[in-house]
Each structure stands twice: as structure tokens, then as C-alpha cells.
């Protein structure tokens, strides 16, 4: 393997704080790792665990969730729901063999462009160290399963 593994990370940001933090980082021309592709939600409380699972099932190596600091949520207390869901989701994903380090929840206020870039850079390295996830794309081309029990697959079942 000569090429460095570049993780693909889906990031969910909330409209009021963390998305504005990303905008602030942009306006200040701060440079950071390009591996995170952001999706804007109105609130981190909108974060449905299905979104995270879908991201992994579709090819992401990591998922970052960001929202307003506890106590500062634009919608008062919805980031706490995001926190609870994130903690239970991580445990559930671990049962599937998806390392807890592949999902990360960070808080960033609209003024914390620098903090967000630092979190992104750190997370990219953490996921890089875990390696690619490469979850199989179940829908699509036929998968050939190599059974460990026989080198060839029988095609006809005898009467």
C-alpha cells in the first residue's frame, strides 16, 4: 500500500451553531483536512441514528455529528437528545463491529470556527488510524461468497 488512506467522513452540522462555525472557518480562510463532507440539519436533535447507519452502509469511514454547546442550543435543549442518541448508537454499532471511534460528537458554537477545524483534523486522523470500513454495498452487483468450507459452489441441488 503506497497511497495514504484518505478516510471519507460524513459530517452532520446544525444550522445555527456548527454550520455557522464551518462558515466562520471558511470566511477566515482557515485550512483543514478535506475529508469531511457536511450535511446541514436545522438542529443536532434532527440527527436520526438511521442517518449515521446509512452513511456507514453507503461507504463512509467515519461520521461526525456537531451541534451547539450544551445549554446553548438554539432550540433550547435538543442537543441533549442528540447526545443521548449518539451514546446509545455507538454501543449498538460496536455490536456490528463498527468501532466506536468512527462516530464522534463535537460541540461548536457559531464563533468557534477554529475549534471546529481542529476537531475535524483530529477526527480525520483518528479514522485514518482505524482504516477503511468498506461496508459491502449489498444492493448492486452480485457478491461472490467464498465459502470457507468448499472451494467451489454447487449450482444444482439434487432431487
Amino acid at each position: 500500500m503506497t497511497e495514504k488512506f484518505e478516510p471519507v467522513i460524513v459530517g452532520f452540522t446544525c444550522n445555527w451553531c456548527s454550520y455557522r462555525a464551518a462558515d466562520a472557518a471558511g470566511t477566515a480562510r482557515m485550512k483543514y483536512a478535506p475529508n469531511v463532507r457536511l450535511i446541514r440539519l436545522m438542529c443536532s436533535g434532527r440527527l436520526d441514528p438511521s442517518f449515521v447507519i446509512k452513511a456507514f452502509a453507503t461507504g463512509a469511514d467515519g461520521v461526525m455529528i456537531s451541534g451547539c454547546h450544551p445549554g446553548d442550543c438554539h432550540y433550547i435543549s435538543q442537543n441533549y437528545k442528540a447526545l443521548r442518541r449518539y451514546l446509545l448508537l455507538r454501543r449498538t454499532l460496536a455490536g456490528f463491529g463498527i468501532e466506536p471511534g468512527r462516530v464522534k460528537l463535537v460541540w461548536a458554537s457559531a464563533a468557534e470556527g477554529l475549534k471546529l477545524t481542529e476537531e475535524i483534523n483530529a477526527f480525520v486522523e483518528e479514522v485514518r488510524a482505524l482504516g477503511p470500513l468498506n461496508w459491502p454495498k449489498w444492493d448492486g452487483a452480485a457478491e461472490v461468497f467464498e465459502s470457507e468450507l468448499a472451494p467451489h459452489i454447487a449450482t444444482e441441488v439434487p432431487a
Partner: protein, 666 residues
């Protein structure tokens, strides 16, 4: 699992902006355009264009022309942040006859060209983000803003200066106001002050005309000795229940002559208006200029209610206005907007045991001093020690008591520096004493404030920069006998000092009201972690809250001086009248709906909503969302285990499609 080739159901136009060279210097804009045209035709892209400045009128015209000529049903613009130009492109689409919510703007500038340097990587990322937005927009729905009618009445909670200002502005505008105040009179804390900085105006002199104007205004219903007990509804349509507590005085008959107060034989310590410094009778008005001037009977302390005897007030009342059987009255009013101007509480300095407040007789709180200095206060305006007669010869004034202190309140209380300077002046004026001011910083920013500071310096006040460590009455040397010793590090000199004084005045910090959180809940608004009500935007929207129809003004949202409170009261009034004059209010259509057939009534979503938009309908066994209250955060949508809640603007279909697109191979 059928593999049919579906004809795309939408016609999508994609516009990639150069933004001068802001985007095109890093992202291969034409490359993205070509890639989209080629690879996303299957999703419905019929045209992909690039242009130097999409936000310009020519750029917008490109979109409008394509909508009309190509029959576009969806538009994606890849340019700057939606926070800047989403409205611009949505309006452009609307001008061409396409519902504005069928247009999306994705940032490839703040998110890509301004933050990444590798052009190939940046271009690939741009393709991903555009692909995500194209797949998302297929699932957008045409939405209409929700229109709700507005009731022209307003409720103002809190009869201090901010509340009075708000009420007067709205009333003068021709609309009716209910002004509710929990104390017996309007006036709030400002009525307790002696002089106001920096002009040294007599507080009551500038306040009472306003109080009288509010009390007699034909458009204001003043309800003192009253509290709001219930609020339901939403912007334009609030139903409010107000409890008018029993005064035991019939307001129709009372002339405010004051004989009942004179004849009442029992005195109690006045904890509220006199800040504990003086007494009042059991039947009382808090101060002479009270509005309204009807007294209140303090029932828990009244001899008649306790033992069944006395009744002096009733005996002597010339108009028979005393009514011991008077009950609390419950009023129900309908209003369109509510302004909370509930003010602040003073930090209880007895929590700082090292300052000895409450233990050492001659340590005074700021409000106690205001009452002492006030000529109609318990000492008739004489600055004297607790013995009631001795004039102090040295006085120490301490800033930041309970403020800027991680142990108590982190915040700066904004008014204490000016207040302390004012105290210094008043002490000097009344007693000629030597005054020491103990400060951390001097905060005198507004008009004429710093000039006032300079004046106080010129008056000979001694300034010591240091946070006072302790106030003690234990002398170490004979000169300290009988004095209060202020132990402080004088940071400018670099030495510890022990300064003996006769009197200490504390500048207590301002705190949120003790029941701010409960009151907030009643109205559906929230407090920040330090307890003040949260404004919609700290810079650009200081008087509205996240809940439509509930506004805040004055110290309820944070410490501030009188001019700022007045400004906020007026600002809140303007916002309210703004809404009233529109007759209808438009709400953004990003909100949740519950499919009642799918809803099983599990009630998991019931405590997901801080805006009380989620209601359980007991007799139907399902939950419903009130679209006027719903703020569109989507938390309930994400919580529903049955998938019975859907949301416009950020639906599951939109986001899942966006994830697909964003992870497409580029």
C-alpha cells in the same frame, strides 16, 4: 429489487458559481458543471451551467430563464453559504413561478474553495456536495408559509421601567395592553433607588410620571398584586390566566387616603421595598407614590387573620373599603404577544461569609444603601450607621460582590461600577466621609459615564484596585478597634492592606429572578446556563426569543442600565406593533406533522419539544403537533419509533438522498 430504468420525475437545473475567482481559483467549476451534466442526468439534471457571479441580477436571470424555458421543477445552486444567499435564489425562482422551497443552495466556497488547497481534492469534494444536493432536491416539496391571525392585545409582565416603557409605547400606538405586576405597585427596582447615574437625577422624580401615565392610560389595564398562572396558545393567539391576589381592599371604594395605614398597630420588617432596612405596617402601600395607590393587606402577618381581633383598618376607613372576605380573582385574557420584563434579583451577599453581610452590622447591600440615601427612606436620607445616629467617617465601597466570580456568578453585572461611583458621591455629599472604592476594573462605557468617573476621582475618592478578601471586626492594632477592617491586596502597589472603615457598602451583583426558570417554562422560553432569558440573537435580535410571540426586555435578559432597559422596552413594543399592524404573521414552513393513523400514542415524542408544540390527545390516543408553535428543529421526527412523524424542509427522504449523493463515487 426490480431494476427498471425510471424516467426521472423532476427537471433539475444546476448552477455552479465562480464567485469571481473565490471558488474558481481552487475548484474546477467547469469540470464540476460537466461532471454533473453527464453523471446526474439519471437523477433529473437537464441543464448544468457555470457563471461568474450567480448572485448578480444576470446570474439570477439565468435561473429564471431556464425555469421558464426548460420547465425546470428543481434548482440547485453551488456557490456560497445558504446563510448569505438562500433567500436570493429562492426569490429568483419564485419570480419565475417556481415555489421557492424547490431551490437549494450548497456552499462550495466556505466549505471547499476557501478552506482546502489541493485543487483535485477540492473539485472532487465539490462534485460530492453538489451530487448530494441534487439527490436531496428531488425530494423537496413545494411549501407555503403558514399564516396566522394576530390578536391586537398585548400582555406585559413586569411593571418596572422596561415594562412601563413597553406598555406606554404600545398604548400610545392605539393598542390595548395588560400590564401585570406581582408587587402592589408599579416601579420595580428603579423605584427603590435614590439617584440615578450619571446625571444624579432623583429616580422617583423621573420614574413616577411614567408610572402615573401608565396607571391612567385608557389603553392600559394595570393589574398589580397579580401573577400569570397559565399561558396556552401561540403567536397571535395566547390565552392567559391571571391571578389578581386579594388586597382585602375594595378598589371601587378606596380613595387612597392612607388612614388605614396610619391606624394599623402592627409593624413588620419591609423585606421587599425597604430591602430589610426599615419597617412597614401590615396594611401598606410600598411607597408614597405607589401606582395604583390602593393598599395591600399582608394577610399572613395580619392580627385579624391570625387571631380574629384588631380590625383597626376597617374601623377607621371612611369609605368602608376594607373587605376581609375578598378572594383572589381569576381573569382570563386573550392576547397576541407577550413581553416579559420581569427584572432581576439582587445577589444575596450573605453567601459570601468572608464579607460578613448579615453578621456584621455595618455592612450594607446596594439596595439597603439606596433606601438609606433616599430622603423618603427609613433614615430620612441620613447616611448613618446601624445605630441610627452615628455618621460614618470612613466608608468602603466594594465592587463585583457575587459578580465576575466563578464561585457565584461568572458574569459582570454591568451597573455596579457606575453605581459604586454614585454611592461614593452620595456618601461624600451627605457625610463628608473618606470613601474608598475597591474595584477589579472600572467599567464606565456609556455616554457621560467616564466623565462621571473622573468627577468622582476629582471629589477625592480613594481607589484601590484589588478584590477584597475579607471584612472583619477583629482588630489587630488599637487603631482598628471598633472598625470594620477591609483586607485587600492593592495590586497596583503590590501590597496587602488592612483598611479600617466605619461602614461598608457592597455592590451586589444582579442575578436572574429566583423563579426565572419556572416563569420561563410558563411562557415557553428558556434560560441560558447562567439563568437569564435567551434572546433570539445576541447581536441582531436582542428582544425576541425563539418562541414566536414572546419577547423579553430589560434585565430579564441580562444585567443592564436604565437607558438600555428603556431602549429594550421600546424595541419590544415596536416589534409587537410591527406584528399587530401586519394583522397576520407568516411562519416558515419547516415543521413537523404527525400521521395520526400511524401514531400509536406511545408518547415517546411527548417530552421532546421545548416549545410545547407537541400535544397528546387523550381521547384519541394519538399525539399532535401544533404547526404554529413548531419551530422545525426536527427532534421529534428523529425520535418517533413508528416513523409516524415527518418534517418539511428536512425530511428523511431529503437527507437520506443527500447521504447517497454525497458518497457517490466521483
Amino acid at each position: 429489487m426490480s431494476d427498471e430504468k425510471k424516467t426521472p420525475k423532476e427537471k433539475i437545473g444546476v448552477y455552479v458559481c465562480h464567485c469571481g475567482t473565490n471558488i474558481s481559483a481552487v475548484v474546477d467549476v467547469e469540470g464540476v458543471r460537466d461532471w454533473v451534466q453527464k453523471n446526474m442526468a439519471g437523477d433529473g439534471v437537464v441543464i448544468a451551467r457555470d457563471y461568474k457571479f450567480m448572485c448578480s441580477s444576470l446570474g439570477q436571470e439565468l435561473i429564471e430563464k431556464d425555469i421558464k424555458e426548460l420547465g425546470l421543477t428543481r434548482v440547485v445552486v453551488a456557490a456560497c453559504s445558504p446563510h448569505l444567499h438562500e433567500k436570493t435564489f429562492r426569490t429568483a425562482a419564485e419570480n419565475a413561478g417556481l415555489n421557492p422551497y424547490l431551490t437549494e443552495l450548497v456552499s462550495i466556497r466556505e466549505q471547499i474553495s476557501w478552506v482546502h488547497t489541493d485543487k483535485a481534492v477540492a473539485t472532487a469534494k465539490a462534485k460530492s456536495l453538489v451530487a448530494g444536493t441534487v439527490k436531496r432536491v428531488v425530494n423537496n416539496e413545494a411549501l407555503e408559509k403558514l399564516k396566522v391571525p394576530i390578536n391586537a392585545n398585548t400582555l406585559v409582565v413586569g411593571g418596572g421601567i422596561a415594562g412601563i416603557q413597553a406598555a406606554l409605547e404600545i398604548a400610545n400606538g392605539g393598542f390595548h395592553v395588560y400590564l401585570v405586576e406581582r408587587e402592589p405597585s408599579l416601579g420595580g427596582h428603579m423605584a427603590q433607588f435614590d439617584k440615578t447615574f450619571p446625571t444624579l437625577d432623583c429616580s422617583a422624580c423621573i420614574l413616577t410620571p411614567r408610572m402615573v401615565e401608565a396607571g391612567t392610560h385608557p389603553n392600559i389595564t394595570v393589574l398589580t398584586w397579580s401573577e400569570v398562572t397559565n399561558v396556552s396558545g401561540y403567536i397571535g393567539n395566547f390565552s392567559v390566566t391571571i391571578k389578581k391576589k386579594s388586597r382585602c381592599v375594595n378598589e371601587e371604594l378606596c380613595t387612597g387616603c392612607g388612614i388605614c395605614i396610619e391606624k394599623c398597630p402592627k409593624k413588620v420588617i419591609d423585606d421587599t421595598f425597604e430591602a430589610g432596612l426599615g419597617y412597614r405596617k401590615v396594611i401598606y402601600t410600598p411607597f408614597a407614590q405607589a401606582v395604583p395607590n390602593f393598599p395591600v393587606l399582608d394577610q399572613p402577618n395580619c392580627t385579624y387573620f391570625e387571631k380574629g381581633t384588631c380590625k383597626a383598618c376597617e374601623k377607621f376607613c371612611p369609605t368602608n373599603a376594607i373587605d376581609f372576605t375578598q378572594q383572589d380573582q381569576i381573569l382570563n385574557v386573550e392576547v397576541g404577544n407577550i413581553i416579559l420584563a420581569t427584572g432581576y434579583d439582587l445577589f444575596d451577599a450573605s453567601r459570601m461569609t468572608n464579607y460578613g453581610y448579615g453578621r456584621l452590622a455595618n455592612v450594607y447591600s446596594s439596595l439597603e444603601f439606596e433606601r438609606m440615601s433616599n430622603s423618603s427612606g427609613p433614615t430620612n436620607g441620613h447616611i448613618v450607621l446601624r445605630d441610627g445616629k452615628t455618621k460614618p467617617e470612613t466608608v468602603g465601597i466594594i465592587h463585583c460582590v457575587g459578580s465576575r466570580d466563578k464561585n457565584f456568578n461568572n458574569h459582570c453585572s454591568a451597573i455596579c461600577c457606575m453605581q459604586s461611583l454614585k454611592f461614593a458621591h452620595l456618601v461624600k455629599e451627605h457625610t463628608g466621609a473618606t470613601v474608598y472604592e475597591f474595584y477589579i476594573d472600572m467599567r464606565t462605557p456609556a455616554k457621560s459615564y467616564d466623565e462621571f468617573y473622573q468627577r468622582i476621582i476629582d471629589e477625592g475618592t480613594v481607589f484601590v484596585r484589588g478584590k477584597v478578601a475579607e471584612i472583619s471586626d477583629i482588630p489587630r492594632i488599637p487603631d482598628e478597634e471598633g472598625k470594620l477592617i477591609i483586607q485587600v491586596e492593592d495590586t497596583l502597589v503590590g501590597k496587602q492592606r488592612r483598611i479600617p472603615v466605619d461602614m461598608v457598602i457592597l455592590s451586589n451583583g444582579l442575578e436572574p429572578r429566583a423563579d426565572a426558570k419556572q416563569v420561563g417554562k410558563l411562557f415557553g422560553i428558556s434560560c441560558s446556563s447562567d439563568g437569564w432569558y435567551i434572546e433570539r440573537h445576541p447581536k441582531l435580535d436582542p428582544v425576541t426569543t425563539m418562541t414566536e410571540g414572546i419577547l423579553i426586555a430589560g434585565c430579564a435578559s441580562g444585567p443592564k442600565d436604565i437607558p438600555a432597559s428603556v431602549s429594550q422596552g421600546a424595541a419590544a413594543a415596536a416589534r409587537v406593533m410591527d406584528k399587530i399592524l401586519q394583522k397576520e404573521v407568516e411562519l416558515e414552513p419547516v415543521r413537523a406533522t404527525i400521521d395520526e393513523d400511524k401514531c400509536s400514542g406511545c408518547r415517546i415524542c411527548n417530552n421532546m419539544c421545548p416549545f410545547s408544540a407537541i400535544l397528546y390527545i387523550e381521547d384519541k390516543g394519538v399525539t399532535r403537533v401544533n404547526p404554529a408553535l413548531c419551530q422545525g428543529c426536527g427532534t421529534c421526527i428523529a425520535a418517533c419509533p413508528a416513523g409516524a412523524i415527518s418534517g418539511t424542509g428536512f425530511s428523511d427522504e431529503q437527507i437520506l438522498a443527500q447521504i447517497d449523493g454525497i458518497l457517490m463515487a466521483v
